[in-house]
Amino acid sequence: MALPRHLQNTFTPQELEFLTESELVRISPRYKFNGLDLITAKIPDMMPNRTMEVPLWYAILLKKQNRCRMFTPDWLTEDNLKAYLKKEKGNANAFTNLPFNWLELSKIYFTYASDEFRIDEIPKLKQLIAELKEVRAIKVQTGLKSIDEHYLQLDNLSRMEINEIRRFVTDVMGKYIQLKNTLVPEDEYEEDDEDVPMPTVGAAGEDDDEDGYENEGYEYNYNQ
């Protein structure tokens, strides 16, 4: 197959991380460096300590060479995450409005810009991120209970979190739709075409009852 099944109709987390790496982020170069005209970006000349925006993947490359400082995202601090967590725990019915790629971003910054955080800060931040994810995951499970063929309401869920449940949700919702589709819509049903032969179902038992499922001998009523 041209595309392996595991990549069809979904993304891998690595792919989402890849997408996040295209985002522009702020850096402060340590050295002068000539600008570059790339395929998908134009990077201006870099002057030491002059803050500029570059694609994240570019920042990572420079950072690995110790050629720039990366500014960590504003929300990615202990205080802010604690506030998010408090809010997250405070409302069982909604998700807090973290950036829609908060999981990708935090992982990238922890991996490639660990020295931009205060000493000992990262374990705490990681812990908070994990707690947030956990609290939200429980809400997702609760939210999924409202799944039907119409829609699913999960405010502010992030891209990674959606991707995690994407196939599950589309599978189940898809089945809902298929099952619903087996029924003739009510308004059309009255004009039942007489020429269409209907199947008959034999009663396996003798009992009779109003509610078909209450006994063995239910009959299907074809006429309404």
């Binding site: 197959m1 041209a2 891998t12 690595q14 890849f18 490359l61 690995k64 060479q65």
Partner: protein, 195 residues
Amino acid sequence: MYGDGGIKLINEAKRTQHLEILPRFQDEMVRHIINETKELQVIASETSAEPLHNPDPSDQQQTQEDRRQKCLQFISKLAMRRNKRCLLAYERLRSEKMDHMAWNNIEAPIQNHHEEEYLREYESNLINFKSAFIDLDLTGPLVPPKDIFIEVRGLQNVGLIQTEYGAFDVTESSRFFARSTDVERLIQQGYLEKI
């Protein structure tokens, strides 16, 4: 019962569905289904049976007796189509596995020469398609690129190593950036280590 052979074949396909390799072609099962279908064709053509379902209004004259007689033909036609579906679904899955082999350059002997021929044709189709995108390696990795360059440290005195990015003098304690594909083997061999 008609169609039993078909379902056997499909169960076999399902069993091996997730195998990466192409399982043995079920010659006998396929032949059995072909033979059954041929027999069904004979039965079905014995009378030029009109379809029993969705009878056409001009069909008013058709008596119950006719229709009873034709029921066998009718079922035969159903069974023929059923057999065909089983065969096609079986082979479709196999063709997908062969496509997979072509994309991933998996070399494995294929016994059935028709399948062998299909694979060769698909490979050349692919080569043709790829030639329109010579700057891309279409069969290249489908995982996003990551750490194309890595920083490595020499563990032994190896000497000069030539890569696309120049020559590196690998000595104990030398450090440099290199394309990870260039130094992969040196790392495996224990000459270098990733920092």
